[in-house]
């Protein structure tokens, strides 16, 4: 047993598993990258001045009406097909009625009992203890279209939440951005693996979304958001316990941590003979805990009914088949193809997938880097930095194009590996392109032969004993002289060229 920073008592993980079977359900919201919103022509670009990308429709002004974005329907169908779903021949939008200041109409236009895609599955590759992978099939219940809400900023108070805030500001730029909500069926029978499977599922779903090209798929910007439903049932009972829904889980690592945390917390509550409250909980990225949000009870009734301002969506079978032709290859086949093409070992491949870097490595190679170079930078340098700063590897601010460019400079002898790491420091600090960082920080390898030659002469003069050894044929001793030259040049020299010069002068 242990206690979290918020005072929740947590049961040790092994003890949880000894007594309970976890069941989880994952709801992933994907913000589509359509140029315009779900029901109006407003732009969807991220990061604009608040309330500048709005119109009568997405502000819910009296009299304004929605029109369905055909591109969003296309993206929804493609996501559905990629998840092996059936695509509805006819479906409608519905109104989900509840009052909240960031919802302009006080109802969300969503889909209820007629989702565009339903009854699918995804095979998730999960790492095993022995270094291999195994496949877990996650059943998909539905993928449906809806609109995003505005974004509330609660000012004052300590928590950043609405309770205790002095006032709240609402940015409606996000209101009406197309979302696809992908809901799994309850995932059971996983035992200890549950947290890992949750993470692997979201990671692989994210890769799929990237491959489809339908979303920016940035968890850090909220363009993919996961809600984690979790319940525990007595071991072997085959039942489903009372669930909690943890919202706002905005990184892959947190998906895993949130599942694990809720398992440990549920077990503690149940162990004391109390029952789990069916409620929404908030995940706190910084402290790694969940806290209670609003209680979900029978009182919450969304009074769904079909949206009368929209006509049904009835994608023709021809269109669906045409979209089926645009599917990315299945993940397993893709992995095999990439491993073959890159010449990675099983372990290298597993680590790449596990770090969530498969797409990044692929793009880096596509941008011109050698496979091993791409892997080295992402899994060595970038994974470490991402871990240090607790962000997604893809959200570091370093792009595959950056990595490929830096590697090209190394290959051309313009940078050493050591200098390259300093370039990445600059890129992470937002100092511009690799070229700009090199120029601003003065990181280029010195290729001025005169300056190099002078430095080599100086090193030889200052280290006569070592120079003699080299003259006697002890080439290995050259390392000390090279080190001296590199120090003199403050690292900005090509070590290979320095060695050549030393040996030339002492032969």
């Amino acid at each position: 047993m242990s206690t979290s920073t918020t005072g929740d008592v947590l049961v040790d993980y092994d003890e949880v598993l000894a007594a309970y079977d976890p069941a989880m359900g994952l709801e992933v919201h994907v913000e589509l990258n359509t140029a315009t919103k779900m029901f109006c022509g407003c732009p969807t670009e991220f990061g604009a001045e608040p309330n500048t990308q709005v119109c009568p429709t997405c502000l819910g002004l009296p009299g304004a009406m929605p029109v369905v974005n055909a591109k969003a329907v296309e993206s929804a169908i493609r996501i559905g097909l990629a998840l092996n779903c059936d695509i509805a021949e006819w479906c409608r939008f519905a109104r989900k009625n509840y009052f909240y200041p960031d919802m302009p109409k006080n109802f969300q236009t969503s889909q209820y009992d007629e989702p565009i895609a339903f009854e699918g599955w995804m095979d998730v590759l999960v790492p095993t203890a022995d270094g291999g992978t195994e496949t877990v099939r996650v059943e998909i219940e539905r993928a449906h279209m809806e609109e995003d809400t505005g974004k509330s900023l609660h000012v004052g108070g300590s928590t950043g939440r609405i309770h205790g805030a002095d006032y709240s500001l609402v940015d409606y730029n996000r209101a009406g951005i197309p979302l696809i909500e992908i809901v799994t069926k309850p995932i059971t029978g996983l035992g200890a693996q549950a947290p890992e499977v949750a993470k692997a599922y979201v990671a692989q779903l994210r890769e799929l979304i990237v491959a489809l090209g339908v979303s920016d798929a940035r968890m850090d910007q909220g363009s993919i958001r996961a809600d984690v439903n979790l319940s525990l049932a007595p071991k072997g009972s085959g039942a489903l316990g009372t669930r909690t829904e943890t919202k706002n889980v905005n990184s892959l690592r947190s998906v895993e941590r949130a599942v694990r945390y809720e398992m440990q917390r549920h077990a503690a509550v149940l162990g004391e003979g109390r029952s789990i409250l069916q409620e929404t909980r908030h995940w706190h990225e910084d402290t790694g805990v969940t806290t209670s949000g609003r209680e979900k009870s029978d009182a919450e009734d969304y009074r769904y009914f079909p949206e009368p301002d929209l006509v049904p969506v009835a994608p023709s079978r021809e269109w669906v088949e045409q979209l089926r032709g645009t599917m990315p290859e299945n993940p397993r086949a893709r992995l095999a193809r990439l491993q073959e093409s890159w010449g990675f070992t099983d372990l290298e491949m597993r680590d790449t997938v596990g770090a969530g870097a498969l797409g990044l490595v692929e793009e880096t190679i596509a941008a011109g880097a050698a496979p091993q170079s791409a892997r080295k930078w992402w899994l060595g340098e970038m994974a470490r930095r991402a871990n240090d700063s607790g962000v997604e590897i893809g959200a570091l601010g370093v792009t595959p194009q950056h990595v490929a460019r830096v590697q090209a400079m190394v290959d051309a002898g313009e940078l050493t590996d050591k200098l390259a790491r300093q370039v990445f420091d600059g890129l992470l600090a937002g100092e511009g392109t690799p070229e700009e960082v090199v120029a601003a920080r003065g990181l280029a390898v010195v290729s001025d032969e005169g300056a190099l030659s002078a430095a080599v002469d100086k090193a030889i003069a200052e280290n006569p004993a070592i120079a003699d050894k080299i003259r006697d044929g002890k080439v290995a001793a050259a390392g000390a002289l090279i080190g001296a030259v590199m120090k003199e040049m403050r690292g900005q020299a090509d070590a290979a060229r320095v060695k050549e010069l030393v040996l030339e002068k002492l032969s």
Binding site: P56, R95, P101, V170
Partner: protein, 521 residues
Amino acid sequence: MSADLTRRTAADLAADLAAGTTTSVALTQAHLDRIAAVDGGPDAGVHAFLHVDAEGALAAAAASDERRAAGSPASALDGVPIAVKDVLATRGLPTTCGSKILEGWVPPYDATVVARLRAAGLPILGKTNMDEFAMGSSTEHSAYGPTRNPWDLERIPGGSGGGSAAALAAFETPLALGTDTGGSIRQPGAVTGTVGVKPTYGGVSRYGLVAMANSLDQVGPVTRTVLDSALLHELVGGHDPLDSTSVDQPLPSLVDAARRGAEGDLSGVRVGVITELSGEGYQAGVQARFEESLELLVKAGAEVVEVSCPTFVHALATYYLIMPCEASSNLAKFDAMRYGLRVLPEGVDSPSAEQVMRATRDAGFGDEVKRRIILGTYALSSGYYDAYYGTAQRVRTLIARDFAAAFEKVDVLVSPTAPTTAFKLGEKLDDPLAMYLNDLATIPANLAGVPGMSLPSGLADEDGLPAGFQILAPALADDRMYRVGAALEAALHERWGGPLLDRAPALAAQAGPTDANGASA
């Protein structure tokens, strides 16, 4: 001169303008003068207008005159002024929907129909009174005071579009736009002796119409003649990409149909009298005028038969489930967060958003609106949805099937528009169910999406007040009712020796506040 201009039809005025015998500024001013003379305010006069935009109307009129002088009028009705029901968004002009909760709101955009009016060069005189959020049949539910019937200022002008109909009957405007969810264009038309048309659902854009019940609402013309309605209907109708439910196919020519009908020959036209919408429950004088009109149709060559639509007896109950369900959701957006009224709860230091929403909605909505929000919220609630909303939708389908079956036998269906003539102000205010019965004959068309027209059939013997004749046609066959309506109108005018409104009493000039801003200023 001014009085002459206000008594002319829109078609006449368009011809005058084309002939150069008047200017848009002159006739716009004449109507503004008439409004100033008879409209009064909440306490006296017709009170058809909530807001009068003299400056904007005259500027639009001047621009129209310039276009005409340059030989390039924007439309057949360029320069003919119009009034717009206050439920339609008008850029720069207050739009209250007859509710306190929208007091002071000035939309930043135009409804599509309003944009089309502006593009066609029609000066907008102002916004007309209505039952709050179009909920009512008497315009007494306006938060800004009732409109009075020009035939008898002690009586209601119908509703919810009583303002538009009364403005026509009082010669304050030659044209108006109304909206019809369960009869809000046709029933006011019937009790004021004017013409009103609810187009086929989807025939006219709803973009910018503040919805009561989206699946039932339609925008339509309010005029004094069938031809004027056809002219206005053609102008505002047609596909709008901003309204997904608008029909994307060309309208049949309505003006041609009205002109052809006015020639008086209806041979080969089959007219069905709906058994369930006449007889018992209909005022004797209303029924008598209806039957006389049928005789005139026969005289014009039409074949008149009786047709039964048995499910229509369930129309009122069906309507009073579907409409409040949709309305309860539509009205949720009025929460004081972004526009309109904001009321802070008393005795609360720093109220939460929820407390402000509650206080505002409590103070901002009238009783009839609250009644329908409560009904709709209840009927949509989990556990009740299937029994109420679900059942109502299934009955709605049956009503549409009754129409389809009837239209296999006849070309148009007819009935009295409303069961009675105009009742006294206050008479039914405390009896919602009696009020709802006004829409008995008009509601089936909204439930099925078919078009309907009301035109005057004469004055009831017992009270000397106008009665209405309703013509219904199949969806997208709006032209049929224009043809039959124009034929009946021509025969009736011949019998009466002129329009029915010539018999309306003269209105006393109002001494009260007649400034350009009317009551809501």
